[in-house]
Symmetry: C2
Subunit: 752 residues, 2 copies
């Protein structure tokens, strides 16, 4: 391998660090105007009147739109029937809901005018907890009731098998809402025309295209969505980009002027999806030798006001709740519920962090109850190739969990430390498995194009988005490897819905695997043309040619070589295609929708983490001394990018476990800013040491598997286990803040 | 057929007639600056100094570039080794040559400053005629001498067979330079970035991309060329767009500001390629029964200062000089020559109008000498399926020349007219054959993509450009027909080099045939997915499904139908690809480069015209009474578009034959404006009656052949023959202006 697995520079790094990257907010067009919305401000009620006079009369205001001005159905969402209005027409379901759109000469005027809009709302008692929503006489937030989706997984005898266990541990675990907190808030810029163009900070351009077209009431072929360079998404810029993207396009076509809408930080928190808060009730039964024989788990997800990705997150929690273990009997119920709060959707990890925290906490409790070593119990129960996982799926290869446990076991022992001082010390372990790509949950296709020019340079197009995860570099590496050219000669273009097949959303750690396979396929087709041409030029058979170092080379005589640019030029003039558009589809899933047993994912990423912490018993301050994060990624394509993914995901897991909590009061978020919403800053960075394990995955390019999400779950869980170990107190709610730690220490009379 | 052959509205007509179409000059970006060049002003010499101080000190001037500032090789051209500088460095080869580029805050300032630049030139005696260029001791305009290309075609015994003829006619024919005279002069707009984007009024975006990249010294994959809506090209916006496109991109990257360069009309005439002036010496030998047995033709083309498309035009004249006739012995020599004049290149007809004028004039002379009917001699000698044409190629089908002669013969007789009055009346005939697509001359590939969205709307992308010829409508019709959807649901996107395979230049009437085949191929792949999905949905076999009227329909039960949008949505979720990128390649040509015998084109368009004219013997004013233009187009796809193409091309031929002449004096064009350069205006429109003949072409979509160019040649030739008939004087030079007609009448003592 010349490029795969090598240390390469991020292909878009230069433009990012030099500030040349063009984010959606950097787009400027003559005559551009700006949009801002008036939000409901109350969590539930019925609109009885909207007074827009003050806004309309504000100098600099150009247009004021309400629900009546939406040409199409005024609905967005992830799954039909879509349930979320662009602008609320009658009912208000959460406080951050948009009601009126103001278009003005500047963003400041638009915001000022939005404040002058008066929306009269006849308020309802808001439904603010899962329990209230599920109460028999609860008001229905949506016509169909307050349950978004409820699913059951049953393997073997399910919970009935708990009776046969020597020991059973039982607990209830809770996690909080979490904000994506990307550096760049949601931003879109619409340019009107015969075909309208939307430049968007977004995650799923095709999803946006469909909603923009529907709400504009035009054919999808009339809408172009171009992903601007995007400053983070983590699952967050999906629904909201369809909302503000549709609004911007509607205003742009109406006014025949470009329209930019950019969220302020507050809007990004209150008006865009969050990670689901969860309550997980769990029982685990094991024999005295440590073998787990049954788990029963009930997951309740607070999904907020609209469905968004709740159905998929429900599925994901269902499948992952029992953890990466070989357990004969599993019963999981997972239910997502509507409440009058900001809607919840995709967020890196997608439900797995919540259930992994619960599962891994309970594994520790089980080990303690059995008096076993906490890593050993994971080794005993951990999945191996040939084992049946909680959905009953058996993988013949690429089940690297045991190797991750081994490498974690082989790490240096935690630093020695004195007993009884001001500082408490603890070590935690956590294992995780996370399914790669959408699998049976949804569509799993991707389109990619590879085009070589006559000068041998290569352009890659793909329907999946670069969100900071480094996918462009991975795709460029794949192409460079296949075509034998330097990575500097490979460009990856911005995603443009005109250019490739609808590739579904960029979610579920599928960019490297499903996206990478599409890129690989397209590159291989171009390679075929080059090899054919080179064989003609060298008057030899195709099998005697290889592409390497920018040349077509005769295998038997290294000195017989033609620059790939000459081969490309000749191929063009001879009529060999130098561009290919490939379509990659994950293998068919085979899954029972009643029991949720069967083959669901093309592969899993497996991981085991160890974390050593020091807790200041006086202040509750935590110092992470070591964090080892071993993940089976199949094959490392970009070592630096992989380390970045594991470090970044771990920090999000750490934030979830230790700092981040959306505070509601009466249905209103109280900390919708980064002063009050505690978020790991650069100073809170933990010393993650990422350790890749390579257990070849036949369904990924060069054997690779996705890696961007699984560390979130493992890091959150390992933090909870490490702190619980240090404080000698089982924490069952995330985040475990300093205050929680101090409270626990006081409760145990354990302060220094 | 539901769409093919039907009267449909031009798909981009609405935006054009409402002024919403966005031409290159309509692009505006914040911070945009404007470019203008200083031109040499003398036709030949050596640059001894350039004084840019005055320009640089002009308020509003931002940058001044000379040849030294070009990062790359400072060369453009059609064929390597490229011979034409962006900015002249040392030698001046024609008066319109660019020497210095000024970038300023406005175009006016840039032009003003350009006038302040002083270029010191040590002048040479300019070489201004083909004879001077070919003189043995002539100064070499290029290092390799003054012959651009010289080629010979030899069929049978060639000119030696003239000896066996009963009669031989002999003549020398000349044609003038002609300007493309599009409504929109050449314009480009470059936007800097990590990847630079050039919006260009242009004909061949991939050609531009290569030259921009080379002259910027960056990989081609870093350059995006998007064709703006283009206000005419006719072959003219090829070389010049690479010149100003490269200059704009170089300045844009240097300044990190968008740069627009738009030619004024004068620059469009003096600084961009023209139609080659030609001198054609011809002998035709026939038997007394009218059968032509041999032709000997020598073509000399004045190509101006640079090669441009001269090599291809040379080839085209070589192949077409002997006309659409079945002649056993043919000898043609064609030579293009450098002179110190504006370079000549592609222009609708591409050499065929020049040689057809000569050939068809001589056919008339031969008929007269034999005392035969002028149409009858064409019928006797005209090609039929199975005949061997001048390159020895034999077509088994789609040789519709005889049908065009028949339909012309069947038209109403010319209006009766009095003898001996002030007005002279004449009728002319001309036949033509013009090869479709590039064939053995060059590369003949095209890439196209067809993408259906989940709502059933369709987007078409293609690497060939819409220049006003109506190709987008034809491509949309093909897709609508194949996918069974309304043409209103089909969009054709702007050409973008990122999106499709390098499709070569949009020339040679290849858009409908080679481009159409690529579109057809891509549409058929999408159709396969839809049919497969519909068969699954209807639980039947694929062969039982058809796509029609926006539905997938069960053939045996018309009422069993599913909207195509539902099928598309299901196909997406099931994983059938709804987008395809197809690559179309013309069948291999088989051609001997020495004799130019063999199979060259995938098909020919054949045509026969009749024109009836009235000439005012007092003023020389010509009135075209009737113009019948019959062309074998294989299959009519868009009747209205076809009529527009035949009418438009005929008017260009008429302009060439009657009005248009570039006047040089000392190497300087004297009439570089539309006041002095006579051009048919809307008032000069001739009453062309286009008559399609359909002789199915197996190499085109639905049997179609290109039609955009051949009427130019036929119309020019038929005008010359009609006027010669009216005046009873054989005109041998084009244009035949009013003045020429009056002179001829006076010469013959024939004035009213």
């Amino acid at each position: 391998m010349k490029v795969i697995g090598k240390q390469v520079r991020k292909v878009d790094g230069f433009e990012l660090v030099t500030g040349r990257a063009k984010f959606a907010g950097d787009y400027q067009f003559p005559g551009m105007v700006y949009g801002a919305v008036k939000r409901a401000g109350v969590p539930a009620g019925r609109i009885t009147g909207i007074d827009i006079e003050g806004a309309r009369n504000t100098p600099g205001v150009i247009d004021v739109l309400t629900a009546r001005d939406i040409p199409g159905p005024n609905l967005i969402g992830v799954l039909p029937p879509y349930d979320q209005p662009l602008l609320a027409a009658d009912e208000i379901r959460y406080a951050g809901e948009s009601v009126v759109l103001i278009i003005a000469e500047t963003a400041e005027i638009a915001r000022f005018a939005a404040n002058l809009v008066s929306v009269s709302i006849d308020p309802y008692d808001p439904i603010l907890t899962v329990d209230d929503a599920l109460a028999p006489d609860a008001r229905k937030i949506h016509e169909g009731g307050n349950i978004t989706l409820s699913k059951k997984l049953l393997k073997g005898k399910g919970k009935a098998a708990l009776e046969k266990a020597d020991v059973v541990v039982e607990g209830v675990y809770e996690t909080s809402f979490q904000d994506h907190a990307y550096l760049e808030p949601e931003t879109v810029c619409a340019v009107p025309g015969r075909r309208i163009t939307l430049y968007a900070s977004c995650q799923s351009p095709f999803h946006i295209r469909g909603h923009v077209a529907a709400n504009l009431n035009v054919p999808a072929a009339s809408v172009i969505v171009v992903q601007a360079v995007t400053g983070g998404s983590f699952g967050g810029k999906d629904d909201v980009a369809t909302e503000i993207g549709s609004l911007a396009c509607i205003a742009a076509q109406r006014l025949n002027r470009p329209v930019l809408i950019a969220h302020e930080r507050k809007e990004s928190i209150i008006g865009s999806n969050l990670r689901h808060a969860a309550r997980i009730s769990s029982k685990t039964g094991a024999m005295n030798d440590g073998r787990i024989i049954a788990r029963e788990i009930t997951v309740l997800l607070d999904g907020g006001a609209y469905a968004s990705e709740s159905p998929f997150v429900t599925m994901k929690t269902l499948i992952h709740a029992a953890g990466p273990y070989n357990i004969e009997n599993v019963e999981v119920t997972s239910t997502s519920v509507f409440t009058n709060k900001t809607y919840c959707g995709a967020f890196r990890g997608f439900g797995v962090p919540q259930v992994t925290f619960a599962s891994e906490s309970q594994i520790d409790e089980l080990a303690d109850k059995l008096g076993m070593d906490r890593l050993e119990i994971r080794r005993i129960n951990g999945l191996k190739a040939g084992d049946s996982n909680p959905t009953g799926q058996v993988y013949a290869q690429s089940v690297g969990l045991q190797e991750t446990i081994q490498v974690i076991a082989a790490q240096p022992a935690p630093p020695a430390h004195p007993d009884g001082g001001r500082y408490l010390y603890g070590t935690g372990y956590a294992s995780v498995a996370q399914g790669i790509s959408n699998g049976a949950e949804g569509i799993d296709v991707a389109g990619a194009s590879v085009q070589m020019s006559q000068d041998g340079s290569v352009l890659v197009g793909i329907g999946l988005t670069e969100l900071g995860q480094g996918s462009r570099t991975v795709w460029a590496q794949i192409v460079a490897e296949v075509l034998g050219v330097a990575i500097e000669n490979v460009s990856v273009r911005l995603v443009d819905t005109d250019a490739v097949h609808d590739s579904g959303p960029t979610v579920a750690s599928r960019s490297t695997t499903v996206g990478g396979m599409a890129v690989l396929k397209a590159a291989n087709e171009v390679k075929k043309s080059l090899i054919s041409m080179a064989a003609l030029m060298m008057q030899t058979d195709e099998e005697n040619i290889e592409l390497r170092d920018g040349f077509a080379i005769l295998k038997m005589d290294d000195s017989a070589r033609i620059p790939v640019s000459s081969v490309a030029t000749a191929a063009y003039w001879t009529g060999f295609p130098l561009m290919n558009l490939a379509f990659s589809k994950a293998p068919e899933a085979n899954f029972d929708d009643d029991t949720h047993q069967g083959d669901i994912y093309i592969a899993y990423n497996y991981g085991t983490h160890r974390m050593d912490v020091q807790v200041d018993a006086m202040t509750g301050k935590v110092k992470v001394l070591n964090h080892f994060a071993a993940h089976d990624v199949g094959r490392v394509i970009n070592p630096l990018g992989l380390a970045g993914q594991i470090e970044g995901a771990s920090l999000i897991g750490f934030g979830m476990a230790h700092m981040e909590r959306i505070n509601y009061a009466g249905g209103i978020i109280q900390n919708a800013n980064f002063a009050d919403y505690a978020l790991p800053s650069i100073k809170d960075r933990i010393p993650t040491n990422s350790i890749p394990v390579e257990d070849h995955n036949p369904t990924g390019p060069f054997g690779a598997k996705g890696a961007g999400e699984p560390p979130v779950a493992a890091a959150a869980a390992v933090f909870a286990n490490a702190i619980s170990d240090a404080v000698q107190f089982r924490f069952t709610k995330l985040p475990i803040t300093r205050e929680d730690i101090l409270n626990a220490i006081q409760q145990r009379g354990n302060h220094g």
